[in-house]
Symmetry: C3
Subunit: 379 residues, 3 copies
């Protein structure tokens, strides 16, 4: 461990879109290092209200570091043998660790812990979102990060015969878990049609100002049996009314229809979700949940000459319908945001106002305004 390296290869250094990078002359080894800080002020509080009770009680305006990430990636031994790991410094969590074999465009392979490409909203890095954070339905439908293996690639034919696919197998117990709960695995697949014949990356806001439209129509599906009914950065968790799951208690099957489009400074994305939860330990009691969001952003400078170039306006509407005995609370969120891009997504300021409207069938509705201001900077 202690003696100096024997053989060595000359390394040159650059600064690029992934931070400081160090590369050997033969391009066999690449190391990229970047840190990212996200500061957020919120009032009356930061989190989306989850239940009716969250609308009452003491309001606690928050100023805090929301994210502090150390990102390390590159390749080793071969240019196509890539790696990436990301550590959340403020929570001391290892978020991503992935080895990727990306030798061919049509067939790639990755293994490790990473964000499943189940929803566009979750897959987009928190540093490259259009709004301050994900919508009110992310909590209920995201798979977040999972541990396992995946094949993926792009099948590009002529014109609009242009598809991306993903197929993965995961333990289905979420970030940071060290064993599976039982023998059941999570199976995931996604098929994406790039209907304009151009690939659109997982990234919010049309900062590139696409000259030609780039659009996505995708269908994703997943099934999993585990103790959990939802996932977050903290790992596996529970939706209200499904607390303390036992190993293999819940068979969860989900589907998502997704669209996205970018063109001349305009960006659009939407998701429509269905989720079925079968309680295997309670006579296969079954619930069906639904949710959606639609979101659009625009750099008005493209239409109005006097409009400042770095300023984007965006709007989002989201809804969640639990439609089950234990919880009839319909949730709605409508948000408006303004982004000022000092240096693209690498250094930007976002101001956002949201209106939450929770409706209990036959009950009284609750509503709340929220304001958030966020500075996200990559270093």
């Amino acid at each position: 461990q202690q003696e100096a390296a024997d053989t060595s290869k000359k390394v040159s250094a650059h600064y690029g879109s992934k931070g400081f990078e160090f590369k050997t002359a033969d391009d066999k080894f690449l190391l990229q290092v970047q840190s990212r800080l996200q500061f957020r002020f919120s009032t009356p509080e930061d989190q989306d209200p989850v239940t009716f009770d969250d609308f009452t009680g003491i309001t606690k305006p928050a100023f805090r570091i929301n994210r502090a990430r150390l990102k390390v990636g590159g390749h080793a031994f071969k240019p196509w043998l890539k790696y990436y790991w990301e550590y959340e410094l403020s929570q001391s969590n290892l978020l991503n660790y992935t080895i990727m074999i990306e030798k061919w465009d049509w067939l790639k392979f990755q293994v490790g812990q990473f964000k499943v490409e189940y929803t566009r909203e979750r897959r987009i890095s928190s540093g490259e979102q259009t709004m301050v954070d994900r919508s009110v339905i992310n909590r209920e439908f995201t798979l977040d990060r999972q541990q396992g293996a995946e094949i993926y690639g792009r099948l590009k034919g002529k014109g609009i015969a242009d598809f991306n696919y993903w197929a993965g197998v995961f333990t289905g117990t979420g970030r940071g878990s060290t064993t599976n709960d039982d023998n059941h695995l999570m199976y995931f697949s996604r098929l994406q049609w790039n209907f304009t014949g151009r690939y659109l990356d997982f990234e919010g806001s049309d900062l590139e100002i696409h000259k030609e439209p780039a659009g996505v129509l995708a269908v994703s599906g997943v099934t999993n049996q585990s103790p959990y009914t939802r996932f977050s950065q903290a790992g596996g968790g529970y939706l209200e009314g499904y607390e303390d799951g036992k190993p293999g208690q819940y068979r969860v099957t989900q589907a998502n229809i997704e669209t996205a489009l970018m063109y001349k400074g305009f960006s659009w994305q939407s998701e429509f979700h269905w989720k079925e939860i079968i309680d295997k330990l309670n006579n296969d009691h079954t619930d069906n949940l639904h949710g959606y969001y639609i979101q659009a952003g625009y750099f008005f400078h493209e239409a109005l000459h006097w409009w400042p170039k770095p300023l984007e306006l965006a709007v989002r509407n989201a809804g969640y319908n639990p439609n089950r005995e234990a919880d009839q609370t319909k949730k709605r969120e409508t948000s408006v945001a303004a982004n000022w891009f000092f240096n693209g997504h690498k250094n930007k300021l976002t101001a956002e106002t949201s209106y939450f409207n929770y409706d209990k069938t036959g009950g009284i509705p609750a509503h709340q305004w929220r304001f958030r201001l966020q500075w996200d900077i990559s270093l």
Copy 2:
């Protein structure tokens, strides 16, 4: 996340006072990386005794890593847009995360989590102290690190018309907390007169051997309402007799008068503290605490030719007077230390002996000797 950087800028590397550093040719991006290890042997135990009970019981001589820090700083996009984060590896705590806008000397701005400049003793890095660690009164009076925003700068006129100022607003719930407890914030300000017309940095021991005297006279004030009556690296905590505070229970108001001086190898610093704690949930029951320390160090080589150049001797006296019903224990600490600076503060050995004398009014006094040996090295 995975593809290689597109545009890039040539980076050169150097080793400087903040470790290895990497800078783009246009000076827009700078990255500095340093780690620091601090080894400590203590007998009969490491911590300052807190109560009478600490003088009895099993003594546990400690050898341990006291600090293991990873420090990352630099600037991004502009030379004046600076950043800094520091991670405590042995505890897995994110200590500092700060973005600074330092375009003008007279008006600077920082946001994040950092050591409030309330006391010189706490603000000085643990790696740049004169003694092994801070005095017995640090526990009661420090604000430690807080989350919020601050303006600061230097107002330099002719001669001794030379001032530094700091004014900040913080959540007042200490390191690592993610929300405020209520709507009350912490307000802090410090005015510092550089009475010799020279700025003195937050650093112990006159290693520079100042040819001209550099002195500081500073007054600081702070007020905060929170569940906490003290702060440490672990976050908000409680002084004895104030356990388990509720949100907004304690209104704490503090003031500190501080001096510091360095001249020809001699260094001096002192603090005088007052702290008022009002218990808002118990009829505004009010306590007043007082404390002080005085400290001096000298490189005797400046006076005695035969004295080894890297050897400094230092002495400190500190006292704490709770003066309240629940706790009448007066505490006194007297310490003597010897520093051997192999490479300034970057590589030094410190031996220290302390005598603690705790006096309960009308009761019997308790006393204890302690010896500590410490190696602090920046890598």
Copy 3:
């Protein structure tokens, strides 16, 4: 903390066996950075069975990141003033922090937290093992990492008059503990005879293909009084039947006789262990534990021309005999492994099958097969 470095030294960068490295032109400062990921699939489960009960119950096939390490080392101020720290990212544990003074070959010194050189099996990095992981007896006999200080060196005379020695004092409370439990320390020593006159490093598999034989015969001893009867990466712990030790409860004395040999692609290693546990709080009740393993690996390409060069086969047999009232379970493990070295230990795939056979004197034996597949890659 915030201003730029003043004096600086030109740094050049290379890629070597310890990853990316940065060195000043005067060779006074060296920084080496490497990360390592280890992915493992196991069925029916990953851990060695510990008791009879582990043979029953739900089997949980595991796919997971087994290790994610950040390794930082180099030297500072002098080429012989070395440092090393290693952080486990997936568990957020600081594993190693060490400063080494290695000016002379015959007398070196290190201080900090590191793997005690008590057994070859444990001392070999998890990334440089021949099998997927350590044997079934590692749990009972390893000292793992300890905090303290050590002298060591090599005494090289003519021919086979060639010895290495280690002697250390540790707190004896394992990784991550911050104080000793009482005044008793751990004392360790190891004497190693390099009986072919060549030094053999702590590393598995004869990847170098030694032209001349290199062999080791070593004797180690250790004594410690603490609450613990075993150690692991998690720190101090308990063997079955010794739960919840009090400070200073157990006086543990251990000895190990070790051999190792490498020659023409063949590698051999063995350990024979004795461990005595005296319960100081229960009339000095004394137990004696015994264990052993033998292990061999071979690159058959050295004998068979058609055999693939990167493929090594290896086999291990291990046994544990508690021989005490509370636990009579004899444990046996026999494992066969195949390694494919894409790039030496830096990038390798290992497949392993183990057979466990636990025998309770006078009772029924239990047995289990296990299969593990592992990819270990340094980046």
